[in-house]
């Protein structure tokens, strides 16, 4: 072999080796994560997973919350889905029924690892279609100073809707400040907030057989109770979504709100005394309830990496990693892992957010989620603005929902 051919052979070998290395590295799992940046807890998890899965690389693409859901859906509809994406669990039925995602079945042991009712948030036709990754519940926050100013016992929050209404009325009449914060803007959390009333009165929107049961005595009581709150709420509730109502509460201009655990952090510098407790209950309640909102990791069909993407999703959401993610992001824990006890002991304000889970319910799953959401928002707005009576609004909404189930 001449020197020149040796060099040529060497170069060819080097080229081949780098090509094969590049080919191996080319298997990229694309993961769309909602948020402005990659969650800081993820990079170490990803590195660990990549070291256990040589030849696979994970590319996390953070997408702002406003566009995240639409981007994932548009990519999937265009036949160019990511391997894995963070989605609201409410969209899973729509994705599944359009054959865009693969099921991620949970064993009985997997299900038992979660708090009750959590697996229901991702279940459709007996199958699980995503892995829960973020969880939110609500509780009642009250302004103790306003309670005092209204002549109420600041240490005695309302336990029932009746007491909640009476307290809101007292605050409004004695202080001329809104007693309760109603959320009714043309925004998704108007539907979420109404679902808290539904689940604190043992109500439902759609049953396990897919029958619309919105027009029920329990839900009529819920909508009637909400309407009764209007005179004692902030002026023009249809202008405010939940974060805006929370801002008014933080400003000391609302007596009570239903909000997530995120408000606890915001209230640390509050200039008034406050408390947080279980959501007040309606006459048909069987125990503390709340809407259980989860986001999930969904695995998209037709990428050729479904198996690996599922493996990655399960790794990211295993009990240890998931709890670290929850603590880092201040999310309600999905599983009663040992760390939860320490969390509650350290900060007892977590208690009501966990107690409501037992009688809570999922976001109802519909084939057209946005259609469902719009019907619910219109129903709430028509009642809040006085354009319709609760019974009529409920009947109309129930009929409108039939097309979306």
């Amino acid at each position: 072999m001449t020197k020149a051919s040796k060099i040529a052979f060497g170069l060819a070998a080097a080229l081949l080796s780098t090509t094969s290395l590049a080919l191996a590295e080319d298997t990229t799992i694309t993961f769309i994560q909602c948020g402005d940046s990659v969650d800081p807890t993820y990079p170490p998890f990803i590195s660990e997973w990549e070291s256990k899965n040589p030849g696979f690389k994970v590319n996390i693409e953070p997408v702002g919350w406003d566009q995240c859901q639409d981007k994932v859906t548009t990519l999937a509809a265009a036949g160019n889905p990511p391997d894995l994406a963070y989605v609201g669990s409410r969209t899973l039925k729509q994705f599944a029924s359009n054959d865009l995602i693969v099921p991620v079945p949970m064993s009985d042991a997997d299900k038992a690892g979660y708090y009750p009712n959590i697996p229901d948030t991702v279940t459709f036709q007996g199958n699980q279609w995503g892995i829960p990754v973020a969880f939110s519940t609500k509780a009642l926050y009250w302004n103790k100073d306003l309670f005092k100013a209204a002549g109420l016992d600041p240490e005695k929050p309302p336990l029932t809707w009746e007491e909640e209404l009476a307290d809101a009325k007292a605050i409004k009449e004695k202080t001329n400040i809104a007693g309760f914060g109603i959320v009714a803007k043309t925004f998704d959390n108007t539907m979420h907030q109404f679902m808290h009333w539904v689940y604190t009165n043992n109500g439902k929107v759609i049953d396990a057989d897919g029958k619309i049961v919105l027009d029920s005595p329990e839900n009529l009581e819920a909508l009637t109770a909400l309407k009764a709150m209007v005179p004692y709420a902030e002026e023009g509730p249809t202008a405010y979504e939940q974060n805006e109502v929370r801002a008014i509460f933080l400003d000391g201009k609302i007596g009570m709100i239903h909000a997530s655990v995120g408000a606890v952090n915001k209230l640390k510098d509050a200039k008034f005394a406050w408390g947080v407790t279980n959501l007040p209950l309606g006459p048909h309640a069987k125990g503390p309830g709340t809407l259980l909102i989860t986001d999930s990791l969904a695995i998209f069909k037709g990428t050729g990496h479904e198996e690996k993407a599922t493996d990655l999703a399960k790794f990211l959401t295993n009990p240890d990693n998931q709890f670290k993610y929850e603590v880092s992001n201040g999310l309600t824990p999905l599983r009663p892992v040992p760390g939860v006890k320490d969390l509650v002991a350290k900060d007892p304000s977590w208690k009501p957010f966990l107690e409501g889970i037992s009688f809570g319910g999922p976001e109802p799953l519909f084939l057209d989620y946005k259609g469902f959401q719009d019907v619910m928002i219109n129903m709430v707005q028509s009642v809040v603005t006085g354009a319709a009576e609760p019974a009529d609004a409920l009947k109309k909404a129930a009929a409108d929902l039939e097309q979306y189930k």
């Binding site: 639409d70 859906t73 999937a76 509809a77 036949g79 729509q94 994705f95 359009n98 054959d99 865009l100 001329n176 009714a184 803007k185 043309t186 925004f187 902030e234 002026e235 023009g236 509730p237 249809t238 202008a239 405010y240 805006e244 801002a247 008014i248 400003d251 201009k253 057209d368 946005k370 259609g371 719009d374 928002i377 219109n378 707005q381 028509s382 603005t385 354009a387």
Partner: protein, 294 residues
């Protein structure tokens, strides 16, 4: 003869790139859109033709009310822009000290990025923290906070006023240019004949501005009819759908609910409505031009 034919072919050859360009970026997508409007296209990978189902669905869903709202919203917004724009142009044309500053200030709503301007108005309309509600309370006009975007009527007018605020600078400057192009000697002759300010405005300025007013009104009409950002950011079409215009409705169906077929049918309706509107407009312009020639 051959020379004539050759010249015609040369003209077609010169036109061809532009025709191809328009066909590719306007005509073809339009044909596709019309085709899509007869399908049930959505998130599923396949779709089928459904005839006129999407169009019949539109009229079963209260679309007539949305069309009417779109026309009135456009009418009020364009009218205000034309009136304020004319007044503004006349004032900016007056030789006053500091005129350049006034002209720059007039441009501000146009200089500020549109989304930022809209959010700013959103805060001003806020009942709890907003400036307008605060002023009304301070002056004792209202006894408590007023959330302008919470009610159908105030929400409607709030969106109109925001659109007027954003759109008026362009109208003003276009009209100012038109006024400045009117020959000075016409005014001098009228002044010599003893014509007053109002007379000069009515008989010289306004007639000479007609072409500019007609051009600007059609540009403004089309952009206002298709206005999306303002209503979407301020109200999302609410409350109770009372600020939902045709474009907002189309977006909600096509992009919000991923019903591409139904959404395409709605956007075809938007195009048809605008087409009919423009047809009447150009007939009116032609009639005015003919009358002028007589």
């Amino acid at each position: 003869m051959n020379h004539e034919r050759g010249a015609r072919m040369f003209a077609y050859a010169l036109l061809a790139p532009a025709v191809l360009y328009v066909a590719a970026i306007v005509a073809w997508p339009l044909v596709q859109e019309v085709q899509l409007s007869f399908t049930n296209a959505g998130l599923a990978k396949t779709y089928s033709y459904v005839g006129f189902d999407n169009y019949t669905k539109i009229f079963r869903s209260g679309f007539g009310e949305i069309i009417w709202r779109t026309f009135t919203w456009t009418f009020f917004s364009v009218s205000f822009k034309m009136i304020i724009g004319t007044c503004g142009a006349l004032m900016l044309n007056v030789a006053l000290p500091g005129r350049a500053i006034f002209r720059t200030l007039t441009l501000l709503p146009w200089i500020v990025p549109m989304a930022i301007g809209i959010f700013m108005w959103g805060w001003m309309y806020n009942g709890q923290f907003g400036m307008i509600s605060g002023l009304l309370q301070n002056f004792g006009i209202t006894s408590g906070p007023v959330a302008f975007l919470a009610h159908g009527d105030t929400g409607y007018w709030a969106t109109v006023m925001t659109d007027v605020w954003i759109g008026t600078p362009m109208v003003t400057f276009y009209f100012l240019a038109a006024i400045q192009s009117i020959p000075r000697d016409l005014y001098e002759a009228a002044w010599v004949d003893g014509a007053g300010r109002a007379y000069r405005f009515r008989r010289i300025t306004l007639p000479m501005m007609v072409p500019a007013i007609l051009t600007m009104s059609i540009i403004s009409l089309i952009s206002t009819f298709n206005s999306f950002d303002i209503i979407w950011i301020l109200t999302h079409g609410g409350p109770n759908g009372e600020t939902t215009t045709m474009v907002i409705d189309t977006y909600k169906v096509a992009i919000g609910s991923y019903k591409y077929g139904e959404g395409a049918a709605r956007s075809v309706m938007v195009g048809l409505c605008l087409g009919v509107f423009c047809l009447f407009y150009f007939r009116l312009v032609n009639r005015l031009s003919s009358a002028e020639q007589l």
